[in-house]
Symmetry: C2
Subunit: 214 residues, 2 copies
DNA sequence: CCGCATCCCCAAAGATACTG
DNA sequence: CAGTATCTTTGGGGATGCGG
């Protein structure tokens, strides 16, 4: 008899699903892809998941080695959840899932969280295009969506860094606005309330390389 | 309000999970990766899933465009389930999941189905090694596991074909045995009851390229 | 037979309230 | 802030049965 409700198969796919196949599990992991978060942050990012479900998923994901709890050093002292190295290796899974999901015959609808917008940019960014000399540029971007700040660094046409945190004023471009406005802008609504400061050409290169999909 | 129990997000990952995130859904798809199957075949391959769950998943997967029902031409006349082109594009997802799952800190245990053994060979086969001239070989393999027969073709060090069906006697090697015996053999149990007929060297190349993992 | 539908039971998810 | 306790609702597991 399997522990909880596993598939009881030795198949590597089934084994992966034993770890991250439960409802909300993979979305919890997604929320940690750009860095550690506290319980309340996760709760706010995943409004559909109740606190009991969330705490249970966190416990199970910790037991299976996908994430770990950590207490930040004083004076912060907050408890945060962060991916283990093995959990961080789920990136190819996210990439494959997102690229598959984007081709769905049934349309996607709904809001994108600030994190999802940034992760989408990275997912659909075409790293291979860096072989084309005309597309090998370098730039530092800062995105300010709702209350969250992200730093994105492109070096020679490749995304080298995407992290929660600011650029200390060193950004070539700063994009600021509500996450909904930025989402609409990426979907082609050119009139939405997004503030762009700095090198617009660098921003266009980024959006072009990402195919303007998120 | 979302249709059934979707995540209600526009995120491409969440949207993918809306389609294949439900319990058993991705394992149903896995069962169809090597070709169409009938309902009873699926039921036999997934003993843990009850008939109600199975038929429901099939209906949902059909609605979301992952698979379709088809009636085989006479005299067979059987109803089979097969992947749509979009469903077949889940291959990178399986590849990423399997390669992640194999690195799990908690050990895998349990039986491998005949299909899973063959799919594992393909998943962990190193296609990139084909750049090495010493590993560019060509061979036709036939595997007979339990009642199932598989044809696997390697051309210039790459797996060009893996299908349910025999080789019409044209195979360079034939591997026959129970799926459990073959699984044990691949796990290193050299004494298990597997019959190998033909070019053993070609078989060794294949197992080596797959890292003997399934 | 094969392809499900129905039924019953339990476990998991959803919602809300509450506590160390 | 970070969860637990509790209750209701929904979905999954397993058996049985029925129509084509």
């Amino acid at each position: 008899m399997p522990d909880r409700r596993g598939y009881g198969e030795a198949c590597a796919v089934a084994h992966a699903l034993d770890a991250i196949g439960d409802r909300w599990a993979l979305l919890v992991v997604r929320e940690l892809r750009l860095g550690p978060k506290r319980y309340s942050d996760l709760q706010a990012s995943l409004p559909g998941a109740g606190p009991n479900v969330l705490s249970r998923r966190l416990r199970e994901l910790e037991e299976s080695g996908v994430l770990r709890r950590r207490v930040l050093p004083p004076p912060a002292g907050a408890r945060v959840y962060e991916l283990t190295p093995w959990g961080a290796e789920l990136e190819p899974v996210f990439r494959a899932l997102a690229r598959w999901g984007i081709g769905s015959p049934v349309p996607r609808r709904g809001r994108l969280s600030a994190d999802s917008i940034m992760l989408g940019l990275r997912t659909f960014f075409d790293n291979e295009a860096a072989t084309d000399p005309a597309r090998r540029w370098t730039a530092l971007y800062e995105f300010r969506l709702d209350q969250d700040v992200y730093r994105l660094r492109v070096v020679d046409g490749r995304i080298e860094e995407l992290i929660r945190g600011d650029t200390g004023g060193a950004a070539d471009v700063v994009v600021a606005g509500s996450s909904t406005a930025v989402q609409q802008a990426l979907e082609g609504d050119i009139g939405s309330a997004v503030t762009i400061t700095g090198d617009r050409e660098a921003l266009n290169r980024l959006l072009d390389a990402a195919g303007a999909r998120v």
